[in-house]
């Protein structure tokens, strides 16, 4: 991974951000800055030296469009899981599913992994190379899972301005299914 040199602008931006965070945490009492100023400086220093993302940040307009999608999908995810577990007989067929990831942007991959876990039915379990391992509450229909993940991948690709993901989806519909019986945890329980 490449590591961009911290610039003065980036440092100032973070300084303002962390100062704002301190204001939110500690309130408006001026004496709180006795601890706040060193803490904000330390946080800025640590953040500049620890962050090594190569992918950059999402585009602002795309990010704004992503928010309602994310909220609606996580609400659906919560209703889905609540409905599955609150019924007298649970409606689940848990299993493992693998998906060949096309996103290459490092930041986009982190967003995809975290978002996927909050959407209906899927949990990102592992990522080795380009192979994403997903745990699904209902893994019976692999093609449906592939379509769900591909749609999210496309959205997050757009969020980071990555076009490749949207082009390759129609041209190469490859997928690898693993039968649900392979979930050893479920078999043991």
């Amino acid at each position: 991974m490449t590591r961009s040199k911290p610039t003065l602008g980036a440092g100032l931006r973070r300084l303002v951000l962390f100062a704002g965070a301190w204001l939110v945490i500690a309130g408006t009492d001026p004496t709180s800055w006795i601890i706040g100023v060193p803490a904000v400086i330390a946080a800025t220093w640590a953040s500049l030296h620890l962050s090594r993302r190569a992918g950059g940040s999402p585009r602002l307009l795309a990010a704004l469009a992503f928010v309602p999608f994310f909220l609606w999908q996580s609400l659906k995810g919560a209703f889905d899981v609540a409905w599955r577990v609150m019924r007298p007989r649970m409606h689940i067929a848990p299993g493992i599913h693998t998906y060949p990831l096309r996103l290459t942007n490092a930041s986009a991959r982190v967003v995809l992994l975290d978002t996927l876990s909050l959407l209906p039915g899927t949990l990102s379990a592992d990522l080795r190379g380009d192979v994403l391992t997903v745990h699904a509450l209902d893994a019976a229909d692999g093609a449906l899972l592939d379509a769900d993940i591909a749609r999210l991948e496309r959205r997050i690709g757009a969020l980071f301005g990555e076009r490749r993901a949207s082009v390759t989806i129609e041209s190469e519909p490859k997928r690898a299914d693993v039968p649900t019986g392979q979930d050893t945890d479920a078999a043991q329980a």
């Binding site: 309130g27 899981v81 975290d114 978002t115 745990h135 509450l137």
Partner: protein
């Protein structure tokens, strides 16, 4: 009670429903990976509705931002934590006795 605080109460109760659902899922689901589904999804929406309800009670600007920040941090932390637990469970190289 004003209509606004009735609405706030409704949101908070809806949030509680999802916390209960997440807990029921934690107890009923058969394996480690499935339980993570209940915790990440139901509890995050539960906390989101709770925060929304509390925002309607008019906590002021700073406390309002603090509530929203708490929700965002919990979202990131629980999704990341769930991923790490799932990865360890799948690879089987953690500290679990098998």
């Amino acid at each position: 009670m004003t209509p606004l605080s009735w609405l706030a109460t409704a949101f908070i109760l809806a949030g509680l429903f999802f916390f209960v659902a997440g807990t029921v899922g934690l107890m009923r689901l058969p394996d480690r990976l499935s339980r993570l589904h209940a915790l990440t999804k139901a509890d995050n929406v539960g906390l989101g509705l709770l925060v929304l309800g509390l925002l309607l009670e008019g906590p002021g600007l700073l406390s309002g931002i603090k509530l929203v920040l708490i929700w965002l941090f919990v979202l990131v932390a629980s999704a990341t934590g769930a991923h790490l637990i799932a990865k360890r469970a799948l690879r089987g190289d953690g500290e679990d006795a098998r």
